[in-house]
């Protein structure tokens, strides 16, 4: 009997090929949407990690407690040893020291007198070590507006807006007036090697990027740093792994009684990132949920129409002596079969297209002047749930549509179905 139905299913393309195609297209879109949204939202995490939080971040406990002020007087000391410990304990991770600094930037005239000046805030990173990945990580090359990247410690990058305000051109000198981590006044000359666009109003008003070795001299922070950012080898943030790492590190190195002892925080544990990750998860769920509901309605309708179209056939089968519940069961089995076949095909296609998009679409060419805050490449990300998420609308919605249409078999009197057969 089953063979008889399967034979009919395969021969009747309007019952097999078309519904499978409809389900497959729907499932392809669901899978692709899931991968795309995951990829784009994931990029936001990647961006935050690269720019501010790392996948994990090591600071002094006191610095962490006052992190809004970025207090270099509470910086982490003995960082060479801490870095050695981190490299030993967590091999494979990339570690990057960063110092946030601020001060007055003075642009002198030809006599060395102040021509213009303004307050600025900056980030010191490892710009000059050959092994450093910070230039790529922060998209500095593409964010250059004028000039070039620093090649010696005495060079500095200013935001293009700040440089324009100070009337400074690449190659000209500026003086950074600030305080050391011990509170002493510090005045240091830099040469502006180039200007960049940060892409965030606050940073573009007075942002700077300098090599960490020179800023250490300026701030008297030898063997000290504000933050050490860690990046997982895969390049992707893994909440569980990061949380396990921070718990292990803090267990060994952090002392709640010593405010200068180091503390490691995962990306999720930093500032508002918990809320941000939760909101992102919520929005991801919402976007994918809405799309899945929409697709479910389409597939449900497809199942419903498929069922309604066959009331005549139901009448015939009833007349020949098949029981209503047997017909109903065979319709559901058929729709589950179609749902599975369509979902498998749709998931395969969805993953195929998503895989093509994991390299991303480079929209850099479309963006007028790239900046550090902008993602030039929008890409999809294939996560384990992409392998099964399409089966939810693919099977359940199709079967549900058929089940609802099939209820008509029970609600209609046998004679009515028989009439529809004769219509």
């Amino acid at each position: 009997m089953l063979r008889f139905y399967i034979k009919g299913l395969f021969r009747d393309r309007s019952r097999s090929l078309m519904p499978i195609l409809v389900v497959a297209i729907g499932v392809t879109l669901v899978v692709l949407m899931q991968c795309w949204v995951t990829g784009i939202l994931g990029d936001m995490i990647v961006f935050n990690a690269r720019f501010a939080t790392g996948h994990v971040k090591v600071m002094s406990r006191a610095y962490n407690e006052n992190i809004d002020q970025q207090p270099n007087d509470l910086a982490l000391m003995g960082t060479e040893q801490i870095l050695l410990d981190l490299e030993n304990e967590f091999p494979g991770l990339e570690w990057a020291e960063r110092i946030q600094f601020g001060g007055l930037v003075d642009a002198p005239d030809e006599n060395g007198e102040t021509r213009t000046q303004g307050p600025g805030g900056g980030m010191a990173i490892d710009l000059l070590s050959p092994s450093s990945k910070e230039v790529d990580r922060l998209n500095l090359e593409k964010s250059l507006v004028r000039g070039r990247l620093p090649q010696v410690p005495e060079e500095i990058l200013l935001s293009d807006e700040f440089a324009t305000k100070l009337e400074v051109e690449p190659g000209e000198a500026v003086t950074l007036i600030t305080t050391t981590m011990y509170g002493a006044m510090s005045i240091t000359n830099f040469t502006v090697s180039g200007t960049i666009k940060f892409g965030a109003a606050a940073l573009d008003r007075g942002g700077m990027v300098a090599d960490i070795s020179s800023i250490r001299m300026v701030l008297d922070m030898q063997d000290a740093t504000g933050e050490i950012l860690g990046y997982l080898p895969s390049g992707d943030y893994d909440d569980l792994q990061a949380a396990a790492m921070s718990a292990a590190f803090n267990d060994r190195h952090s002392d709640p009684e010593d405010e200068f002892s180091p503390v490691m925080l995962s990306l999720r544990e930093q500032g508002t990132m918990t809320m941000m990750l939760d909101i992102m998860d919520y929005f991801k769920g919402l976007i994918i949920g809405i799309f899945m509901i929409a697709m479910s309605i389409v597939l449900w309708n497809s199942g419903l129409l498929g069922g309604l179209r066959r009331y005549g056939e139901m009448g015939l089968r009833i007349a020949i002596g098949e029981e209503k519940k047997h017909i109903y069961r065979s319709l559901i089995v058929e729709s589950v079969f179609i749902g599975i076949a369509g979902s498998v095909v749709g998931t395969a296609f969805g993953l195929f297209f998503a895989a093509l998009l994991t390299k991303g679409i480079d929209i850099g060419g479309m963006m007028q002047g790239s900046n550090m805050m902008m993602q030039a490449v929008m890409k999809a990300s294939i996560t384990p749930d992409a392998y099964y998420i399409g089966f939810i609308p693919g099977i359940f919605a199709t079967a549900l549509g058929t089940a609802l249409a099939g209820i008509g078999i029970f609600k209609r009197k046998t004679a009515q179905l028989f009439k529809e057969l004769q219509a």
């Binding site: 009997m1 015939l316 002596g321 098949e322």
Partner: protein
């Protein structure tokens, strides 16, 4: 089924709700049919022929009164019992043939036997025999869209007859056929009635069919106005 009686209808009433009121399609019908009859319910459209046929075929139930078809009383006719009765003992022939277009002639005729879970070899033998009765042995691999109207109706007859039912209900079986095909079909059914002693009950207003009937029951406005046997 005393004395070969296979259908007893006693004071049957069938009403349908229409709007706020009720339409009575059959009003106080009492009839009996014996095994081997070749009879017809005739009358104009709306006289209640198809409704009566549906009740005989256990596709519908009486509003009042009782029926007993092949030993099964309408009072204990659950959907399962009705389906079993149709599956084992009743064959239907429709005006529009209602063959399943994706299946071959052989498979269409085989379908009732699949429901009865007849073993494959027996099934094949029975299907070939039924197709031989209707003269379509050479069309077993054809599909319904490749057949003429007459051939399609002959396949429908083979499908109704393959399980050798006690009762065949035929609702306007010649309505879509020309005269030649109609006579061919009717002769085939007459022959099967004679050879297999299958009871045939027609619902028709076609004179060609009426000419073959041995008993004519006339319905008008849901009532039997005459019931006469025809001498052949």
């Amino acid at each position: 089924m005393k004395n070969g009686r296979i259908i007893t209808i006693d004071n049957l009433v069938k009403s349908f709700p229409i709007g706020g009121g009720e339409f009575t399609a059959l009003n106080g019908i009492s009839l009996q049919f014996d095994k081997g009859e070749f009879s017809g319910i005739v009358g104009p459209s709306g006289s209640g022929k198809t409704t009566l046929l549906n009740i005989l075929g256990s596709l519908d139930t009486p509003t009042k009164g009782q029926t007993n078809v092949l030993g099964t009383a309408s009072t204990r006719m659950s959907p399962k019992v009705a389906a079993t009765l149709r599956k084992k003992h009743i064959g239907f022939i429709f005006q529009t043939y209602n063959l399943m277009p994706v299946y071959t002639v052989f498979e269409n005729v085989e379908f009732p036997l699949l429901l009865l879970k007849i073993p494959s070899a027996e099934r094949k033998k029975a299907v070939l025999e039924a197709l031989e009765w209707v003269g379509l042995s050479d069309k077993i691999k054809s599909k319904p869209p490749q057949l003429s109207g007459g051939e399609s109706q002959r396949v429908a007859i083979a499908r109704a007859m393959v399980k050798k039912p006690d009762l065949v209900l035929a609702d306007e079986p010649t309505a879509n056929l020309d005269a030649e095909n109609s006579h061919h079909i009717l002769k085939t059914m007459e022959k099967l009635n004679y050879e297999l002693r299958t009871t045939f009950v027609f619902a028709t207003h076609d004179d060609k069919v009426i000419g073959y009937l041995r008993r004519i029951i006339s319905l008008e406005d849901g009532k039997v106005v005459s019931d006469a046997y025809v001498k052949k």
